[in-house]
Every structure is written in structure tokens, then in C-alpha cells.
């Protein structure tokens, strides 16, 4: 790890520890924004971490900056850090200024983006957009353009993910000034926008899995049955080892995707990550609940802040099956003798999918 990343990782972790308690995660799951957490995150500049240094970033490699999203996931993602980081990166790629505050991004369906006077007429819709109701800037991609829409430019209908996090529907039919619209950057085609979302969720899941493991290990050490901590029972130990296995695999897969993100194989990396981490999420969450017994099945206990997040996130931006199929198609472009060379020197997924 390089110095800048090390300092940022420590700072961000401490910040989340101090500011982002369960209250914050619970508020987010009611569709609210825990303002004080966001303010703290914004104050140290995390929303700009994926941007080039000259545009306000820290000068971090993208692979390193992406790892910050995992930290938020470990605290149940009480604020839209990943969404804002990636939206700002998309804006920067188009030469547009970053969002003042919170941003999110979405592919605009039925998109029409046409010149109108000295500005643009933009219309279209998007559904299930993360955190849209709290976003000052909504980065929309469609109709060959990228649009930095403002809250007042569109209609937001609240919706929610399986665990209650804000996932809103949007409709836009507005005339926007020229400086809110730019040609769509080549790097963020439709696949890449979905991939950005999948990457973000894979990283958050890897973080949440680490917390699920820690909570479960801790609980097993505290819960006494038959006169001793259940952690001393071999059946429990063997199950916790499986959680550690899955946690380790999820970390490796998410990091693989982060490392590949700024190169030719970005889509392939995301496919590996979303497929592998999503599978790990299901296995680990189920064991964590088993080990926690009835107390873990309550609203009051904090376990669900992470397990329900895992169950939601694994379905967002393409489930395991969706990404497995893309990976499978790509690998089978050269079945038999081509299989191993594909594994060791991955070709660009776009070509096969």
C-alpha cells in the first residue's frame, strides 16, 4: 500500500468509526440521509477520490481510490460515497465540473437529448436510482450525452431497495443550459455505467462481509451455552472458517476488479467480482444468521444492517447469474484449448458479450 492510500484508509476508517454508528445505517435504511456522516466524508474530500489531481482528486490510482468504497460498505454504507465518487469520475471524464455535494448516476432510458436554442432539451426516465432524492447532481448518461441534472430539473418518485435504502425513479423533460450537457465520454458506454454500479456494490459487499465475519466471531466468543462459549464448539468453528473463506475470496475478487478498472479488461474484472462476491454474500449471510441464533433474527440486533444489505446489493446492477453469463459467453468464445489462455490473459469482455 502506498502512503497516501494508507493515510486515507486510516482516516476514512476512523471517520466512519466515530460518525457512522448503527443510527446512521438505520436512518439510511429509512431512506434518510445521515447529514453529519456525509459532512464528515465530504470534509476530507473522499467524494473526489476518483478524480484526477488537477480536478481536485488526491492523485490516487483509481484502483486505490476504489478501495475506499469498501470501507464504507463495512459500516453498512450509510451515505452514497461510491455513487458520488463514480458520478464525479464520469463528470470529470466529460470535462464537466464535479458535484458540489452528493451525486448519483444512471443510464437514461428513452433518452432524447436535442439542441434547443443555446441549451438542450433532455427527456427520459430511469428507475431504482440509488440515493437520487438526496443527490444535488444526478449524472445521467443517454442519447449520446452525459447530463449533469440538478434536483429541480427532474421529478423524483421515492422507491427502495430490499433493505430500505433509497432507490428512486426519475423522470426528466427539461431544458438545460449548455454547461450541464456534454458528449458522452467513450469510457462510459452503457455497459460501463452498469459495470460501475456493479463494481461499487461488489466493493461494498466485500466490506460488509468483513464486518459480518467480525460480528459473528465476536458473538460466538460471547454467547455461552453448555457452560462454554459456542466458539469452542467445533461445529461452530468449522462454519466460521467457511465465512472466512468466503470473505477472503470476496476481497480478492473485488480487488481484482478495482485493479482492472482503468484498463482494457475492466468489464471482465467487474464480472468476476460481482459474480464471486454475490455468491460469497449468500453463503456468509446464511451462516452468520445460523451462528447468531434468534437474537440475530431481530430488528434490534445490528446483524441485519449488513446481511440485508448483502442480500440487496447482490441483486443490484446485475445478479450473479447476469454476470456469470457474460463471463461464460466470453470464455466460451474459444472453448477447449482456448479456455486456459482466456483465464491467464483475459480478452476484452466487450468483444464476446
Amino acid at each position: 500500500m502506498n502512503d497516501v492510500l494508507e493515510i486515507l484508509t486510516e482516516t476514512a476508517t476512523r471517520l466512519f468509526e466515530q460518525k457512522a454508528g448503527d443510527d446512521a445505517a438505520r436512518a439510511a435504511r429509512r431512506g434518510e440521509l445521515p447529514e453529519s456522516v456525509w459532512d464528515a466524508v465530504a470534509e476530507i474530500g473522499l467524494p473526489f477520490a476518483l478524480m484526477p489531481e488537477e480536478a481536485g482528486g488526491f492523485g490516487l490510482a483509481e484502483a486505490d481510490a476504489l478501495r475506499l468504497i469498501r470501507i464504507g460498505g463495512g459500516f453498512g454504507s450509510p451515505v452514497p460515497l461510491g455513487e458520488t465518487m463514480l458520478a464525479n469520475a464520469m463528470l470529470a471524464a466529460a470535462g464537466l465540473p464535479p458535484a458540489d455535494r452528493i451525486a448519483t448516476f444512471a443510464e437514461l432510458e428513452d433518452a432524447h437529448v436535442v439542441r434547443e436554442g443555446d441549451g438542450w432539451r433532455v427527456s427520459g426516465r430511469a428507475s431504482g436510482v440509488p440515493w437520487a432524492r438526496h443527490a444535488g447532481t444526478i449524472t445521467l448518461l443517454g442519447g449520446g450525452h452525459i447530463i449533469a441534472a440538478r434536483v429541480g430539473d427532474l421529478a423524483v418518485t421515492p422507491g427502495e431497495a430490499g433493505n430500505g435504502l433509497a432507490r428512486d425513479d426519475l423522470e426528466i423533460d427539461a431544458r438545460l443550459p449548455a454547461d450541464q450537457v456534454a458528449p458522452r465520454p467513450a469510457r462510459f458506454d452503457a455497459d460501463a455505467v452498469e459495470a460501475a454500479g456493479a463494481l461499487m456494490r461488489a466493493l461494498e459487499m466485500a466490506g460488509a462481509l468483513q464486518t459480518v465475519l467480525a460480528l459473528t466471531v465476536q458473538y460466538a466468543g460471547e454467547r455461552i451455552q453448555f457452560g462454554k462459549p459456542i466458539a469452542k464448539l467445533q461445529a461452530i468453528q468449522q462454519q466460521l472458517a467457511v465465512v472466512a473463506d468466503q470473505c477472503a475470496a470476496a476481497n480478492a475478487a473485488a480487488e481484482l476488479a478495482a485493479d482492472a478498472w482503468d484498463g482494457d479488461t475492466s468489464l471482465l474484472g467487474v464480472a468476476v467480482a460481482k459474480a464471486r462476491v454475490g455468491e460469497a454474500a449468500g453463503i456468509a449471510a446464511s451462516i452468520a444468521h445460523q451462528v447468531h441464533g434468534a437474537i440475530g433474527f431481530t430488528e434490534e440486533h445490528r446483524l441485519h444492517l449488513f446481511t440485508k444489505a448483502l442480500w440487496s446489493w447482490r441483486d443490484e446492477f446485475g445478479s450473479e447469474t447476469v454476470w456469470q453469463r457474460r463471463l461464460g459467453k466470453a470464455a466460451l468464445a474459444a472453448p477447449g484449448d482456448g479456455f486456459w489462455p482466456f483465464i491467464t490473459a483475459p480478452t476484452v469482455l466487450e468483444q464476446a458479450a
Binding site: 468483513q210 465475519l213 467480525a214 466471531v217 465476536q218 460466538a220 466468543g221 466458539a231 469452542k232 467445533q234 461452530i236 468453528q237 468449522q238 466460521l240 472458517a241 467457511v242 472466512a244 473463506d245 470473505c247 477472503a248 475470496a249 476481497n251 480478492a252 475478487a253 480487488e255 481484482l256 485493479d259 464480472a271 468476476v272 459474480a275 464471486r276 455468491e279 450473479e320 447469474t321 454476470w323 456469470q324 453469463r325 457474460r326 463471463l327 461464460g328 459467453k329 466470453a330 470464455a331 466460451l332 468464445a333 472453448p335 477447449g336 484449448d337 479456455f339 486456459w340 482466456f342 483465464i343 491467464t344 483475459p346
Partner: protein
């Protein structure tokens, strides 16, 4: 408690990738026409001529110092040779154990004379070793070892039985783990490692046929076999520590997830380019697992290169790797219908049957699944 479960990314090595091209070309020529059923044996496939060719190329003992016949190359380069030979199903059994663990063990604990005597032959693909740890009453509980090497005038006199010794019938030497003092009740204390010349009198090697019909492991009976004092590796009484030091090398290599590659490759060949959504997803899932495992395994190699403790990380690779290798035949039979002797799948059917009968060993050899998970639980602070 919160163990660090991250794996470093192995740095990209231009030299290693160049070597990959070279190794692939060599293997394509050497293995031309070798049927999948033979390739499936992979690291159980014994072929001394092949090992000598690999040795002549400088692809055994690659990381060892040149003065002992090694080639002073990086771990990354060795990793390429190992994974390429395994993925193509090359017969690597002859030199496998010497290259992976006996050589490194000698480098670490051997005397200068021992290094000079054994390492060059190992690196040349001519000197083969086997591992004598398990016994009839000693499986997972290795510290209960009973085979005794009694210190006598000029050396040791060995009595006892080793079991499941892979390649004892082909190897010239056994790395014997045994007791040199005390009793099994002393556990770790009083154990040692001895490099036994298997041609000595008093050693009887009896092959055992396995589930898949192969004869690769053996029962080895020692009846008053005498070995000279200079056969002792490392310090007398230090056997346990030495054996444990081999484990990170033994548990994280690509052999821990590539054992069913021949079947996986043939499965994709039969599926072709457009087998439909379900089959594509099933293949994609395996790809995601394989790429992740490979990243983890290469990460452990990088940790070892940096002299970091990789025990927990390696154990996790082996546990996950065995699950992956073991589910491949199950997935293959769901995707491809195989009727007995049906012409279209006759060869594939044999390969499938062979792999089905091979996979139970994958979560036994090198530490059982339960033992590995116990080690992981310890890493989590649970024991």
C-alpha cells in the same frame, strides 16, 4: 480476531509472461496427441523422461541458487511453469515433490554437503522424493507419529510403517518424518526428519490401488533399516517445526485448484460457443471462481517472496480450491448428458468417471477439509 483476509496483487512480471509463451510452446509440442484421460492424471502422472526434459530447460528448482543446480529465477517465473504444466495436464509427478518441498526444505535446513549432494539431481529432474508422514494409525494427528529411527552407532535404525506414500515406488528418496526419541505421548517433541535412500536393505514398498484404479501411493515398511547419521535433515528433535514450515508451500500452489482442469477444458470443448443461458452461466461461475483462486494463490506466492507469514492465507486457498475442483465433475454431468458408451461422449464419459473417482482425495491429501478449517478457526482466534 479481525484477521487480515486481503491478498496482495502479484506484481506483473514481463519475464514471467515471456516465459509463459516459451513454456506453452514446449508443452504443445511435448503433449501433442496426449488424450485428455491421460492429461487428467496431471500431478499423479509419472514420466521420468518428461521430468528430465523440463530439468534440461531449467524449469525445475528454478528459484534455487545456481551453485546447487538451481536457476536463481523469481517465484513469479516458477509459478508460471507450475501452472502451465498443470493446466495442460503434463506428467509432473516424478519431480513434483522435490521441486515443491523437499528441495526448499534442504535449502533451509540441510547441511552444505547435503545441498551439494541432492539438489543438482533434483533440479535436473533425475532425483525424486516422496513424503513419509502418514501411517496406519497416524493421519490428521501427525504428532502421534510412531515410526522410530533409533540413534545407533554411525546412524539410525528405522522400524515402522508409512502409508499412502505417493510415488514411493518411483522415488529414490523419502523425506521421513519419525520419532528419534521419547514416545508418541511426547507429541511434537522428539521428532525428526530423515532423508532415506529407498534402495537400502530393510525397506519394503507395496503399491496400493486407488479408487480411480491408479497405483500411485504405497505402504512402506521399515524393518531394521539402517541409515547413516548424515541422512538426518536439520536438527534432531526439530522435526515438527520443520514439517510445519513446509505447509505454506504445500497448501497454496495452483495444484490446489487445477486438479480437475482436464475435465473442465473438455467440458467447454463439448459445450461449444453457444450452449445457451444456463450452461453459459455455469461456465461463467467457474471462471469467476478460478480467476479469484488464481489471484489468491499468486498473492500467497507474493507474500512468501516477501517473507511474510502466509499460513492462514494459504490454508484458505486450499480449502476453497478443493471445493472448486470437486464440484467440476458435478457441474459437468449436469451440463452434458453422458450415457454409457454413447459414441458422442465415449471419451468424455471415461474422463468424467475418472475425475468423479479422483476428487474425494482432494479434500484429504495435504490436510483434510476439517483440519484446514480448524487452522482457519485458529487464525480467527476461536481456538
Amino acid at each position: 480476531m479481525s484477521a487480515d483476509l486481503s491478498y496482495p496483487a502479484a506484481p506483473f512480471s514481463e519475464a514471467a509472461e515471456q516465459l509463459r509463451t516459451e513454456v506453452r510452446a514446449f508443452l504443445a509440442e511435448e503433449l501433442a496427441g496426449v488424450p485428455p484421460l491421460v492429461r487428467a492424471k496431471s500431478w499423479n502422472g509419472f514420466d521420468a523422461a518428461f521430468s528430465r526434459k523440463l530439468g534440461a530447460r531449467g524449469w525445475i528448482g528454478m528459484t534455487w541458487p545456481t551453485q546447487y543446480g538451481g536457476h536463481a529465477r523469481s517465484n513469479a517465473e516458477r509459478y508460471v511453469v507450475v501452472e502451465e504444466t498443470l493446466a495442460s495436464g503434463a506428467p509432473v509427478a516424478a519431480h513434483w515433490i522435490a521441486d515443491r518441498q523437499s528441495g526448499p526444505l534442504l535449502l533451509r535446513y540441510g547441511t552444505e554437503a547435503q545441498k551439494q549432494r541432492y539438489l543438482p539431481g533434483m533440479a535436473a529432474g533425475e532425483t525424486y522424493t516422496c513424503i513419509g508422514m502418514s501411517e496406519p494409525d497416524v493421519g490428521s494427528d501427525l504428532a502421534a507419529v510412531r515410526t522410530r529411527a533409533e540413534p545407533v552407532e554411525g546412524g539410525f535404525r528405522i522400524n515402522g510403517t508409512k502409508l499412502w506414500t505417493t510415488n514411493a515406488h518411483n522415488a529414490q528418496f523419502m523425506l521421513l518424518f519419525c520419532r528419534t526419541s521419547g514416545t508418541p505421548a511426547d507429541r511434537h517433541k522428539g521428532t525428526s526428519q530423515i532423508l532415506v535412500d529407498l534402495s537400502l536393505p530393510g525397506i519394503d514398498i507395496r503399491p496400493i490401488t486407488d479408487l480411480a484404479g491408479e497405483r500411485h501411493f504405497n505402504e512402506v515398511v521399515f524393518d531394521d533399516a539402517f541409515v547413516p547419521a548424515d541422512a538426518l535433515i536439520g536438527a534432531e528433535g526439530n522435526g515438527w517445526e520443520q514439517v510445519m514450515s513446509e505447509l505454506a508451500y504445500e497448501r497454496s500452489g495452483p495444484e490446489r485448484f487445477l486438479s480437475s482442469m482436464a475435465l473442465l477444458v473438455e467440458m467447454t470443448r463439448l459445450l461449444g460457443t453457444t450452449p445457451g443461458d444456463a450452461a453459459e452461466a455455469a461456465v461463467g461461475r467457474l471462471v469467476a471462481h478460478l480467476m479469484t483462486l488464481r489471484r489468491m494463490s499468486r498473492g500467497v506466492a507474493a507474500m512468501l517472496e516477501n517473507k511474510q507469514d502466509a499460513g492462514l492465507h494459504a490454508t484458505i486457498v486450499k480449502d476453497l480450491g478443493a471445493l472448486f475442483e470437486q464440484e467440476i465433475p458435478d457441474i459437468a454431468r449436469q451440463l452434458i448428458a453422458v450415457a454409457p458408451n454413447a459414441p458422442a461422449t465415449r471419451e468424455f464419459g471415461k474422463l468424467l468417471a475418472y475425475t468423479v473417482a479422483s476428487v474425494p482425495a482432494f479434500s484429504l491429501r495435504g490436510g483434510t477439509r476439517e483440519i484446514l478449517r480448524g487452522i482457519i478457526a485458529r487464525g480467527l482466534g476461536l481456538r
